[in-house]
């Protein structure tokens, strides 16, 4: 029984840490998105709240909390409030299989840095959860009882379902190399600079594009295309319910960056052997260095996400579907065949 208790405490502490990480990551991302977009568009960006505007996201959150929570009279109340919970819940639960560093050894006890990083269906869990994420958006669009919301919700779910396929197929090459679905195994296999991005360049590009579509980010942000849809599936949301969708979007961006870096950029692995800087396996300092390395990769990728959003114009709907079904899907299948042939030759 004490063993179960310890396990519960351990998981609870990790979960608290992860949730606070996600919330602060969302704040950092909102701020940097506004600053980077301002820089790209030759503006100044937020500069009133705090020095250089760093407190802006907190002011935003405070504003969202203070706002009145409006629900349209024709809306379906139950689903209207359930939808943002599903969206945010899915975005956060994905982190339960993501490893942040390898492990810390305290006495006999080995503590892995993640809630369940070694579970052998790791990536499948993420795929399953992203397919649940569709419901948050569809529900929001339908329950608002608003044309624009419904259109936004339908577009979004069609887009997510279409790109899920190429996303799932493009990473099969990575699984073939690692021989496992566990995210920790995949990271361990990319020791040193044997990153999958070099071994799987085609798969990486397909996965990157599909991720942009999955997270509804520009250039695939059709679900919330402002000029045509007012605001998309979240048009009828206000106050903290809108805030939850907003948070989910940025949490998804951070998740997507984390997954890309785990699968293709070596995850928490340092680009050189840890003996080189005199650290031991299982020590706390090594775990911190690995965590910082992982965080750096995530931040660079997040910056890339923001950069793309303010550089590339939005796709048209038919272009989006063509790209997904006619180009990415066959290329993803080709990638599997090529990986198989390469493994046969160099085995």
């Amino acid at each position: 029984m004490t063993e179960t208790l310890w396990l519960l405490i351990e998981v609870g502490v990790k979960a608290l840490f992860i949730i606070s990480m996600i919330l602060s990551a969302a704040a950092v991302l909102v701020y940097s998105e506004r600053k980077v977009s301002a820089f790209i568009q030759n503006r100044i960006g937020p500069n009133r709240v705090g020095p250089v505007g760093v407190l802006q996201p907190f002011a935003d959150v405070l504003k969202l909390f203070m706002k009145e929570d409006l629900v349209p009279r024709a809306a379906d109340r139950r689903f209207h409030s359930l939808a943002p919970i599903i969206s945010l819940g899915v975005a956060i639960s994905v982190y339960s299989v993501i490893p942040f560093a390898h492990y810390v050894q305290i006495g006999e006890r080995i503590i892995y840095m993640g809630i369940a990083p070694n579970v052998n269906v790791g990536y499948l869990f993420i795929l399953a959860l992203t397919s649940v994420g569709v419901y948050g958006v569809t529900l929001a669009g339908w329950s608002s009882n608003n044309k624009y919301s419904l259109l936004g919700g339908l577009r979004s779910s069609a887009q997510m379902i279409s790109y899920e396929l190429s996303m799932g197929l493009s990473i099969i090459g990575v699984f073939m190399l690692a021989g496992s679905f566990s995210l920790n195994d995949i990271v361990l296999q990319q020791e040193g600079l044997r990153w999958n991005i070099f071994l799987q360049p085609l798969g990486f590009i397909i996965f990157l594009v599909a991720t942009f579509a999955e997270t509804n980010r520009a250039p695939f942000d059709l679900p919330e295309a402002e000029p045509e849809l007012v605001g998309g599936y979240n048009t009828e949301y206000s106050g903290m319910k809108f805030g939850m969708f907003f948070l989910a979007e940025y949490a998804n961006m951070a998740t997507a960056s984390a997954i890309i870096s785990l699968l293709y950029l070596g995850g928490w692995q340092l680009p050189f052997s840890y003996n080189l800087i005199g650290l031991e396996a299982g020590s706390v300092s090594l775990a911190i260095v690995q965590f910082l390395c992982f965080l750096l990769k995530i931040l660079v990728l997040c910056f890339f996400f923001i950069w793309v959003r303010w550089t590339v114009p939005r796709f048209r709907y038919d272009q989006l579907m063509n790209l997904g079904w006619r180009k990415l899907l066959p290329l993803a299948l080709l990638n599997i065949v090529l990986t198989g042939i390469a493994m046969m030759i160099w085995g």
């Binding site: 379906d76 649940v132 779910s157």
Partner: protein, 164 residues
């Protein structure tokens, strides 16, 4: 602990499944199926069938239920009539109840009369390996036939959609 989780998931499954059957609003029925599938996936996890659990979520929640919900969403307003499952008459209600009772009784009889063998349980390290090997060796032919069948269905669906 495991018992507690089992009853939790069982409660979720039965509760949401009864909403599916009893709700007058077909959207509510469709969405409570979501929780039914989730609960069943949870039960699979308790049986150490993690791969089956995730496949259940991906296939049923990520694929089939989305189709059902799209169907409901996009057709309710076309006919001009609100689709409500409450429009079914008493005849259907009685026949359905009789069928359900018969099935329940036969299941209970089956459960009590068969002598179940308790096999010694070995917790598998990973279930994916054994499932993959079984598919590629012993059950290769049924696996391939199922794949071809699905391909035919896919091509057929595209053909029907194109004709319009």
């Amino acid at each position: 602990m495991e018992d507690l989780l089992f009853y939790l998931f069982a409660f979720v499954v039965i509760g949401s499944a009864s909403v599916v059957v009893l709700s007058k609003n077909i959207m509510y029925s469709a969405f409570s199926l979501l929780f039914t599938f989730f609960g069943v996936a949870g039960l699979y996890v308790l049986l150490f069938a993690d791969f089956v659990a995730l496949t259940q979520i991906m296939v049923y929640i990520g694929g089939i239920l989305v189709l059902i919900i799209f169907g409901v969403l996009l057709t309710t307003k076309i006919t001009g009539v609100d689709i409500k499952s409450g429009t079914t008459g008493k005849v259907q209600l009685i026949t359905a109840s009789v069928v359900v009772v018969i099935i329940a009784i036969s299941l209970i009889l089956l459960f009590t009369n068969v002598e179940w063998v308790n096999q010694e349980f070995v917790q598998p390290n990973t279930t994916i390996d054994s499932i993959g090997f079984a598919f590629m060796t012993k059950y290769l032919l049924p696996f391939e036939i199922a794949a071809v069948l699905l391909l035919i269905a896919l091509v057929g669906a595209t053909l029907i959609a194109r004709r319009k």
